[in-house]
Each structure stands twice: as structure tokens, then as C-alpha cells.
């Protein structure tokens, strides 16, 4: 791995140079909300931020996406597929938890039956991650899942704010190509020098989750879900701000002769999510829906895809839940349960 540094002013120059050939995307603060969106110049970016409201999964799995359009011409119906990206993209400022979430989403969208538009976006996007500030926000808990918020793993380049400079870890070939766009702006560092600049590991309260899955799996029938679901309002915030949630709906907008089929985010917390036309709902009350969500994060997703857990500790759901359902408290409650009764 190449380790370099770049001054903060040069970083802007470098990003602007990237923006000449690629679509540059990064965190932008508008009306007090930080969101990832395309920018024309690095001046629009807000790199001094905790984390974005919506996770950058939206760049790969957008909230609304056209799958294809259809048009009736005489007897025939013509389908027109959505075009791939026009330009390569560079996402700057993404946090490690969100980088990690992409590797979970990759399992869903790239394995088994491959989702072409997700793949196109993933393949054609370079990630310039931004190491988390020390101390991190008090609500964050990524380290509980074994995630190191200062690690370049999964991204192409990692930037670490070290005062007036950024420490630059170039992790991949894609990253090297980006640096090569403005090689003159970077100062190569010796290992020793880089180590001196490297901030100390992040100190975060850590939960021991080794027994979480086993304990949770014994709680299928537990009364806990009933009580946990009481403050839940049944809105979709937790799932929409979650970087690993991937549920979606497919819907046509338009007439029978002219329109678009969209894919859009959907939420397992909505009461009609699994409602069948027959009127049967396998998850009829908030109890089943809340239980389903936590099982999916901590048991069924990991079991299906062979991953650790399907949560990256970004704390978005915890911060935004209007009813005050806190995922960390849920984990603590599960861990505090005595032994596993069979469910």
C-alpha cells in the first residue's frame, strides 16, 4: 500500500481535477442535512461531517430507479432498458461503516443472480474513504462488529485528517490511477513518517457480540418483541437510513401503453409489505415486523450469506428513530437474556 500525504488545499485541486473526467460525488450540506450527491466542484463538499443522513448505498441502489420504460406501438410493446452510467464516478468522503455495508450489499446484488445496474455502478465507481474523527460520535458502534473506522479496506483510497494535511493510503489500482491524475500534489511518505502521522486506534465502547446470534435465535417466541414493538410507529426511517437494508418494491408508473417500471426502496416495517392479495399477512403486527428486522440483521442474513452480522454500527437508525427504538439497546437486551430457550 502506498502512503502519501496531501495538503487540504491541494486535496481540493486534486478533486477538481478528478471532476474534469469523472462524476465527482461527495457529502454536501443543504438545509442542515448532509447528503451524498454529484458536485461540479470540490468547493461544494462538506468533508467535516459526522455522517450523511441517507447512507451512500443510495449511489449504488438508488431510492428510485428506472428499470425500463415500456411503450405500446401498434400491437407491439417495446421495452427500453435503462442505460448504464455515462461516466466513471468517484465518491469521496465515504465512511468506513458505509464502505463495509457495500460489501454486504454486494452479496445480495452481485451473488447468485447478478443485478446489472448495481454491478455497473459498483464497477465504475471508485471510493475515496474518509477516516472517522477521534473521538467518533458517541452513538457509533462499528467496532463491535469488528470494523476498524480507520482502515482503508474495501475502499480504493483512504483519507485521514491529520491537521493541515490528509494522510493518503492508496489501496488499489483504481486508487493509484486517481492519484496519478495529479501526482505532483502528493508527497510520498516513508513508512516511519506515515506511522507517526497515523492517529491512534479509535476508542469506542465495544459490545461482545459473540453470543448475539445464538441467543437471538432462541428468542423467536419471546414476549420481548411485543414490548419492543410498542414504541415503534411503523414508519420506514430505520430501513431507509440503514446502509445494509436492501428491500425494494417494483412498481409501474404510467398508463398501460406508456410508462416506466421503477424499482424503489421499500420497508419491511410497513404493514402492507408482505401482505398478500389473498388478505393473508405473514407479518401481521408490529411484533412480527420488528422481530423480522432484527432477525434479518443478526441471524438470517448472516446465515444466508455467511457473513458476520448485517449491521455496520453506523447508528443512523438509532439516531433517527422517532419512537426511540435503539438497536444497541436491543442488542444489549438480547445479550442479557438468560440462556437460549428453544423457540
Amino acid at each position: 500500500m502506498d502512503r502519501k500525504k496531501i495538503s487540504k488545499t491541494d486535496l481540493s485541486r486534486w478533486l477538481d481535477r478528478i471532476a474534469e473526467t469523472c462524476d465527482l460525488i461527495g457529502p454536501v450540506k443543504e438545509e442542515e442535512v448532509v447528503q451524498f450527491r454529484p458536485v461540479r466542484s470540490s468547493a461544494e463538499l462538506t468533508l467535516d461531517y459526522a455522517n450523511s443522513l441517507l447512507p451512500p448505498k443510495s449511489l449504488f441502489f438508488p431510492p428510485v430507479e428506472e428499470l425500463f420504460s415500456y411503450q405500446k406501438r401498434g400491437e407491439e410493446i417495446k421495452l427500453e432498458q435503462t442505460k448504464p452510467l455515462e461516466k466513471d464516478r468517484v465518491v469521496v468522503g465515504i465512511r468506513k461503516c458505509d464502505v463495509e455495508s457495500l460489501s454486504l450489499l454486494d452479496r445480495v446484488f452481485l451473488e447468485d443472480l447478478e443485478d446489472v445496474s448495481y454491478k455497473d455502478r459498483r464497477d465504475r465507481t471508485a471510493l475515496i474513504a474518509l477516516a472517522c474523527p477521534t473521538p467518533p460520535r458517541s452513538s457509533c458502534f462499528c467496532t463491535s462488529f469488528g470494523i476498524d473506522p480507520l482502515s482503508p479496506e474495501g475502499s480504493d483510497i483512504l483519507l485521514t485528517d491529520v491537521g493541515k494535511d490528509y494522510l493518503v493510503d492508496v489501496a488499489t489500482e483504481k486508487g493509484r490511477e486517481l492519484v496519478a491524475l495529479a501526482d505532483d500534489l502528493f508527497t510520498k511518505l516513508t513508512d516511519k513518517k506515515a506511522k507517526e502521522l497515523q492517529p491512534p486506534p479509535v476508542d469506542m465502547p465495544e459490545l461482545d457480540l459473540s453470543e448475539l446470534r445464538e441467543k437471538l435465535e432462541g428468542l423467536w417466541e419471546d414476549d420481548y418483541w411485543e414490548k419492543l414493538s410498542l414504541p415503534c410507529l411503523g414508519c420506514g426511517i430505520c430501513t431507509y437510513v440503514c446502509p445494509t437494508c436492501h428491500c425494494f418494491d417494483i412498481a409501474d408508473v404510467g398508463s398501460t401503453s406508456d410508462g416506466v417500471r421503477y424499482r424503489c426502496w421499500d420497508s419491511c416495517m410497513y404493514k402492507d409489505f408482505a401482505l398478500m392479495t389473498s388478505g393473508v399477512n405473514p407479518r401481521p403486527t408490529k411484533r412480527e415486523r420488528v422481530r423480522n428486522r432484527y432477525f434479518h440483521k443478526f441471524s438470517t442474513f448472516p446465515s444466508r450469506y455467511g457473513t458476520n452480522y448485517a449491521c455496520v454500527g453506523c447508528a443512523r437508525c438509532l439516531v433517527h428513530c422517532p419512537g426511540g427504538v435503539e438497536i444497541t439497546t436491543v442488542m444489549e437486551d438480547i445479550l442479557a437474556k438468560e440462556g437460549a430457550s428453544d423457540g
Partner: protein, 154 residues
């Protein structure tokens, strides 16, 4: 349902939805027809049993989905076939008109008028007047359908 017009809005032919009460305006429309009164062809009439049948969401959805105007026609106050339906229409109309204006929809695009069964001429005049007003405003909204490329990008 794209409203046809050239780039300058010339020749713009608006699409207007008319809800007409069965007991008055619908008959008024009929009378206008048999009297061979000239009327612009921009209106699509939906017959309702009472102007109070027109729920506000009918109007909101019609306008948001690209119609250029909505006209609700009911019996004159006091003449409702069901005694008091149009009094409720009046309250809702007052309120909805203000709300639509507030979110940037011109008041001409949503109108309520009282037209009795014998007022064939008033029906024709109302339709013509409303059509002219909306023509002058131009299309409600060029059909969007186009998405922002990424969330938050407007």
C-alpha cells in the same frame, strides 16, 4: 397526457377535468349541447351524483398528474338535490383553493361554480371562461417523469 404546445406555449390546448353534478350542471351541459352552444373542446366531463362527491384528493391527484385545470360544478346553494351536499362542497372548495394557491398552483386551475339544470348558457360560458383562463396560464407542469440523477440532486 402531455399537453400539446410549441415552445412558446402558443396553440396550447389545456386538458380540463369537469366534475358535474347529475342534478344540475350535468343537465345544464346537456342543455348547452342541445341548444348547439359553441364550447371549447378542452373539457372532459365526469358526472357525479353530487358536487360533494368530489373528494379533495380527486382534485389534487388530477392536478399533480398533469391535468391543467379542474372545474367542479354543483347546484346553487339551497338547491341541492340532497338538501345540503353543496354546502360541504363550498367549505371544501374554499379550503382547497387556498391550499393549492399556497403550494404554487394558480387559483384559476381549480374552480367551483354553481350551474343549474336550466343554465345551459352559463355552463357554456363557464367552460369557455375557464378554458381561456387556463390557456393564458399555460400548461400546469411540463410532464416531469425525469428523475434527479441521484438523491438530493435537484
Amino acid at each position: 397526457m402531455v399537453s400539446g404546445s410549441d415552445s412558446l406555449g402558443n396553440g396550447f390546448e389545456p386538458k380540463i377535468l369537469v366534475f358535474a353534478c347529475n342534478w344540475c350542471a350535468y343537465a345544464g351541459a346537456d342543455l348547452a349541447g342541445v341548444s348547439r352552444l359553441q364550447m371549447p373542446p378542452n373539457c372532459r366531463v365526469i358526472r357525479v351524483m353530487c358536487s360533494a362527491r368530489v373528494r379533495p384528493e380527486f382534485v389534487v391527484k388530477a392536478l399533480s398528474k398533469g391535468l391543467d385545470g379542474v372545474l367542479v360544478l354543483g347546484c346553487h346553494p339551497g338547491d341541492c338535490h340532497y338538501s345540503e351536499g353543496n354546502y360541504f362542497t363550498r367549505r371544501r372548495g374554499l379550503l382547497l383553493r387556498k391550499l393549492l394557491q399556497y403550494v404554487g398552483i394558480e387559483p384559476e386551475r381549480f374552480q367551483v361554480r354553481w350551474v343549474s339544470a336550466s343554465e345551459g348558457v352559463k355552463f357554456a360560458e363557464t367552460v369557455e371562461q375557464v378554458t381561456e383562463q387556463i390557456k393564458a396560464l399555460g400548461p400546469k407542469r411540463p410532464r416531469s417523469g425525469v428523475l434527479p440523477t441521484e438523491p438530493g440532486d435537484s
